[in-house]
C-alpha cells in the first residue's frame, strides 16, 4: 500500500473459540499488510471478528494457525509463534479499549507512569515528565491528580490513549474506542487519533465511525463472519464497493444515519 514498508504482515491467520465439540471460527485465513505510518480501519458488523483480530495482534488471544510478522529495528518476529513471551512484544504495541480499562484505584498520572516505570524501568521523574507532556498536549494537564471516575468518558478515553502512548509504541491498536461515548464526546477522542496520524503513528482501528474511517484511513477492510471480504482505500471502498455484502452493509449504515 502506497509502497510503504510493511510494519505488520498477517498471513492466513485463523482463530476459533470454544471446545472441540462446539467450535466457532471467528477468523478465517486473514491476510493483511499494514504499512509503516499507515492507518488501517476494520469495519463490519459486531461479531465479525474486528476485535478478535486486534487482540490476536496484541497476543491477548492465542491464535490457532497462521503468522503475524511484526517488523521493527531488531528484525521481524512472528507473534503467532507458539510459546513466544508476550511481554516484550506488548511493550512495543499500544492498545486502547472500548471500555477504557483505566485502573480506578490510581490517579491519572499513576495510570500513565505505572508501565513506563515497571516495564521500561524509567525513573519516576522521567516517567512523570513524559506523562505531563502528553497530558498537556491533550489538554488534560489539570487532571493529572484526578481519579478516573471523576472524569468524563471522553477524558477517560484520552487518558487511556496517553497511557498507551507513554510506552512510545511502534503500533497502536484502537478497539472501538468511541463506541462507549456519547456523540458529543466522540469528537475530542477522534481529534487525538487525527493528531497521532499526523505524527506518523501506525494504527489499526476497529470502528463503527464510518465518516471518520473514510477521512483517516489509508486502507479500509470490511470484515464479515471472520473473513476480510474487501479491502481498499476508503475512496474506493465507500464509493464503489465490489461485493454485494459490502454494499449491503454500507447501505444499512447509511440508513441508520451513521455515514
Amino acid at each position: 500500500m502506497n509502497g510503504a514498508t510493511p510494519k505488520v504482515e498477517i498471513r492466513n491467520l485463523r482463530k476459533s473459540f470454544g471446545t472441540k465439540a462446539h467450535r466457532r471460527t471467528v477468523l478465517h485465513d486473514i491476510c493483511l499488510d499494514i504499512g509503516e505510518h499507515e492507518v488501517v480501519c476494520l469495519i463490519g458488523a459486531s461479531g465479525s471478528g474486528k476485535s478478535t483480530m486486534l487482540r490476536c495482534i496484541n497476543m491477548l488471544e492465542p491464535v490457532d494457525d497462521g503468522e503475524i510478522w511484526l517488523h521493527g529495528t531488531g528484525g521481524a518476529v512472528d507473534l503467532a509463534e507458539p510459546g513466544l513471551d508476550p511481554d516484550p512484544i506488548r511493550r512495543r504495541i499500544g492498545m486502547v479499549f472500548q471500555s477504557y480499562n483505566l485502573f480506578p484505584h490510581m490517579s491519572v498520572l499513576r495510570n500513565i507512569t505505572l508501565a513506563p516505570m515497571k516495564v521500561l524501568g524509567r525513573s519516576a521523574g522521567d516517567a512523570k515528565a513524559t506523562a505531563m507532556h502528553l497530558l498537556q498536549r491533550l489538554g488534560l494537564a489539570d487532571k493529572a491528580d484526578a481519579y478516573p471516575d471523576q472524569l468524563s468518558g471522553g477524558q477517560q478515553q484520552r487518558v487511556a490513549i496517553v497511557r498507551a502512548l507513554a510506552m512510545q509504541p511502534e503500533l497502536m491498536l484502537l478497539d472501538e474506542i468511541t463506541a462507549a461515548l456519547d456523540p458529543v464526546l466522540v469528537g475530542e477522542v477522534l481529534n487525538v487519533v487525527r493528531e497521532m496520524r499526523n505524527d506518523g503513528m501506525t494504527m489499526v482501528l476497529a470502528t463503527h465511525e464510518m465518516g471518520f474511517a473514510r477521512e483517516i484511513a489509508d486502507l479500509v477492510c470490511f470484515l464479515q463472519d471472520g473473513v476480510i471480504l474487501e479491502s481498499a482505500p476508503p475512496a474506493q471502498l465507500f464509493t464503489e464497493p465490489q461485493h454485494a455484502e459490502t454494499r449491503d452493509f454500507l447501505a444499512r449504515v447509511i440508513a441508520s444515519g451513521r455515514l
Binding site: L60, P86, D87, P88, H105, L114, V119, R163, A164, M167
Partner: protein
C-alpha cells in the same frame, strides 16, 4: 426566588420556603406512619415478654441463678480483666490468618502448570478446613499435637510457654480454620476484578505478577474489607472456644466462678462483656459496608 436573590447579589443565603409541596407532605406522612407502626409493634412485643416471662413456673429460680444483681456487680470487674486475654489471642491470630489466607488465595489463582501441586494443595486445604466445624479443628489440633509429647519452650509476641501448650495450639487451630475462610473471601475478591483490568495491564507489557501486585490485588483488597471484617468478628467470639483446651480466658473464668458459686450469672456477665466488645465492631462493619456500597454506586430501591 432563590435564583433571583442571588442574581441581585444579596449576601445572605435564600431563606427556605415555608410552604411544603404535595410530595413533601406525602413523604412526611409516610415517615410518621412508619415510625408509629414500629413503635407500637415494639411496645406489643416488650409488653408480651414482660407479662409472660415472669409468669413461667421457673422464673424465680432463673432470676436468682442467671440474673443475680449482687453476683453481677461482683463478677463484672473480675471477668472484665480476662477480656484482655481474648483480645490478645484474637490480635495474635489476625496477622497470621490474613497472610496465610492471601497466600492460599494466590495459590489457587496459579495458572502455571508446573505449580499445579500448590494449587491442588490450596484447594484441598480450603475444602478441608471449611468443611470441619471450628470446634472439631480446635479439639483435634489442640489435643492431638500436644499428645505428640513435644518438649521445650517457645516465645511468640505476647505469648510464650511450653511447646505442648494450649496457648500455642489453640491459636494455631483458629489460624488454620479461619485462613481457609479468609482465603475464599480473597479469592472471590480477586476473581471479582473484571478481566478488562487484566487486559489493560497486560497490554501495557506488565507481567502476570506485576498485574496481580499493582492492578488486581489493590482493587480486590478494597472490595473484601466488609466480608473480611465479618469473619474477624466471628473469630473474636470463637476465641472463647479455646477455653475447651484449658485456655484461661473470659468464658473459662466464668465457668470457674459458676462451678464455685453454683450461679450462672457469670455467663450472663461474659455475654454482656462480649457484646461491649462486638457491638462497636459490628457497627463499624455496617458503617464501612454502607460507605463502600455508596462509593461503588447503586442506590436503594424504593
Amino acid at each position: 426566588m432563590a435564583a433571583l436573590s442571588h442574581r441581585e447579589g444579596a449576601g445572605d443565603p435564600p431563606a427556605p420556603s415555608r410552604v411544603l409541596t404535595r410530595r413533601e407532605v406525602w413523604l412526611r406522612q409516610q415517615r410518621r406512619r412508619a415510625a408509629l407502626i414500629a413503635a407500637s409493634s415494639m411496645t406489643a412485643v416488650l409488653l408480651a415478654v414482660v407479662l409472660i416471662v415472669p409468669r413461667t413456673p421457673g422464673w424465680p429460680t432463673v432470676k436468682k441463678t442467671f440474673f443475680n444483681g449482687a453476683r453481677f456487680r461482683q463478677d463484672f470487674p473480675d471477668l472484665l480483666g480476662y477480656l484482655w486475654t481474648d483480645v490478645k489471642l484474637f490480635l495474635t491470630c489476625v496477622p497470621f490468618i490474613l497472610i496465610w489466607g492471601v497466600a492460599l488465595a494466590m495459590m489457587r489463582n496459579i495458572r502455571n502448570p508446573a505449580l499445579f501441586p500448590l494449587r491442588a494443595f490450596a484447594a484441598a486445604y480450603t475444602d478441608l478446613f471449611r468443611g470441619i466445624p471450628v470446634i472439631l479443628t480446635i479439639y483435634l489440633v489442640g489435643f492431638g499435637i500436644p499428645a505428640l509429647g513435644l518438649k521445650g519452650e517457645f516465645h511468640l509476641l505476647w505469648f510464650g510457654g511450653r511447646w505442648n501448650s494450649a496457648y500455642l495450639w489453640g491459636p494455631v487451630a483458629l489460624i488454620l480454620a479461619y485462613s481457609a475462610y479468609v482465603a475464599e473471601v480473597f479469592r472471590s475478591g480477586i476473581e471479582g476484578i473484571h478481566e478488562s483490568q487484566r487486559a489493560g495491564a497486560r497490554s501495557l507489557g506488565l507481567t502476570q505478577t506485576q498485574t496481580m501486585r499493582h492492578v488486581v490485588l489493590p482493587q480486590a483488597a478494597r472490595r473484601v474489607v466488609p466480608p473480611l471484617m465479618n469473619d474477624m468478628l466471628s473469630l473474636q467470639k470463637d476465641v472463647a472456644l479455646l477455653s475447651l483446651l484449658g485456655v484461661y480466658e473470659l468464658f473459662r473464668r466464668a465457668q470457674v466462678i459458676k462451678d464455685r458459686t453454683f450461679n450462672y450469672t457469670p455467663y450472663v456477665v461474659a455475654a454482656v462483656i462480649f457484646l461491649i466488645l462486638t457491638i462497636p465492631e459490628t457497627r463499624l462493619v455496617d458503617w464501612y459496608s454502607a460507605r463502600h456500597r455508596r462509593r461503588t454506586g447503586g442506590s436503594q430501591v424504593a
